[in-house]
Symmetry: C2
Subunit: 304 residues, 2 copies
């Protein structure tokens, strides 16, 4: 299995309201993730606020994570930026800091052409010199990958995986088969969109890029293990227990809900950077209820 | 007429490939704009690469423009940023530098709620303390304003105008009437999307936020004057002469085409920042042909 297969857990990047890392809180989140032994940690993904943090703070966050993780679990770092030179700089810096892989989102303002995205990936993948995963998430990056472009990118040195959004028609098997027919054998196809992970993995996806595993890694690891072993009954049972949380993810965006989960789990007062706002009290109470239901169904969420 | 009415000309921000301002080239563009006497200059809009430049370079660009313009035409500055604190800092800085107005785009990564955008605007408008125009451009900012939210924002101190995208159904009169019924009398409704400007102004829009006027201000000023005076025949004649250019704007994005126009007009080698790429030779030749047609129909483009 490649670096990008299995469960990848995406932590928040806890900061103050000026966007400065709180390294002690990040370390606590990382330790909880490591205790569940996922395949990798996806630092500075969308969940990790990469788009909102300064280059300096992103570099600091990478170093804090490398120091905390101490090589116990592979670290994958999001290096997306609006400018190619900035993304390349972040990729080279993350490699120098000692991470194991990179995640690159074609975050865009002007609508990008396929050729522009191809050159962007070629430049950044070369600058990093590490295994790189294509971050395909049109909802946040506003770029839509066709299978043709993924196929072209998969021939570039270092480009080893794609993180796919959930297919609109729910046909994971069809999409996996189509993507595998145009990419190399070793190329890894995983999914994000936590509420679709169970179906994706049961259909044979290589991995789950998981938001919720950033804070509830044990339950996510159990779901991953069951689904990747083809144990549909157990996978469905855990997925069902997550359902109230999935509903909140879809209603409010998983990013905002994750901050509420962090508050309930640890009592830390961390919040997303403005303009994004924390959930209000009423929504926060629903998050608490969803966590209680999950805890009752799949076991204590705090276990180490 | 308010600050945001009439023709607002949006210059490119000429930089090297590291994103450092070329002040002499900017000054040349500004002098050409000033010679056509538009109502305002829209510095650091989407055309001015605001989303791609560092905070330091944006501040430098504002100062270079203030110094070049010397108060001859009101300067409006785009202060959009993913973070509220950064946008507020840019707004306060632009005010301190001596500009006359601000333009604020709700540029987003996580999808924003109406309440988040409202607070963002309230904070930035207060930080700037200058007349502010709402920048409504879902194609680049990925936020869609409802009329309700525009109405709420129009009650905030300093919020005096909205820059609208072209209505999908082409019904300018209906949209103008709907917006005016929910905003204060003095509130200004203008449009961007150069190929729709003629129809917008003939339908009674207050202004045209013009990309093309950043490089071809005289032809744009003539079109604005004719359309705002209700001279449909002359407005249509000029708009028709622009048509080959409008087609290229729609096909390649006006941002890329503007760099090609700059090359043809001045021979300067400026290019968009990567990952955005300049047009290829073939498309560049079509831009040259479109300019020749415009020149033949509406008079020399270089006149001062």
């Amino acid at each position: 299995m490649g670096l990008f297969a299995g469960l990848s857990a995406f932590p928040l990047t806890p900061t103050d309201q000026a966007g400065r890392l709180k390294p002690d809180v990040l370390e606590k989140h990382l330790e909880r993730i490591i205790s569940a032994n996922p395949a990798s940690i996806g630092l500075l993904g969308s969940t990790g606020s990469y788009a909102y943090l300064s280059v300096a703070e992103r570099k600091r966050t990478v170093r804090a994570a490398v120091q905390a993780v101490q090589g116990r679990i592979p670290l994958i770092v999001g290096v997306g930026a609006l400018r190619t030179d900035e993304a390349a700089e972040l990729a080279a810096d993350a490699a120098a800091a000692g991470v194991q892989g990179l995640l690159l989102a074609p975050v865009s303002y002007q609508r990008l052409t396929d050729d522009e995205v191809y050159r962007h990936f070629a430049t950044v993948a070369a600058a990093g010199g590490l295994p790189l995963c294509i971050y395909n998430n049109p909802g946040t990056t506003h770029f839509t990958f066709g299978h043709n472009l993924i196929a072209r990118l998969s021939t570039l040195p270092n480009v080893e995986a794609v993180k796919m959004p959930l297919p609109a028609d729910g046909d994971f098997a069809g999409e996996l088969s189509a993507l595998r027919s145009v990419t190399p054998d070793r190329f890894c196809v995983g999914y994000s969109g936590d509420w679709g992970a169970k179906n994706a993995l049961l259909a044979g996806a290589d991995g789950w890029f998981s938001v919720v595993a950033g804070l509830l890694p044990h339950a996510a690891a159990n779901l991953t293990r069951a689904a990747m072993a083809g144990n549909a009954e157990e996978a469905c049972r855990i997925d069902q227990a997550f359902d109230p949380l999935w509903r909140l993810f879809r209603e409010f965006g998983s990013f905002r809900v994750m901050y509420a989960i962090a508050g309930h789990l640890d009592g830390d007062s961390i919040a997303p950077l403005m303009p994004v706002r924390p959930l209000d009290q009423k929504a926060g109470d629903r998050v608490r209820a969803a966590l209680a239901e999950l805890d009752a169904s799949v076991g204590p969420l705090h276990r180490a």
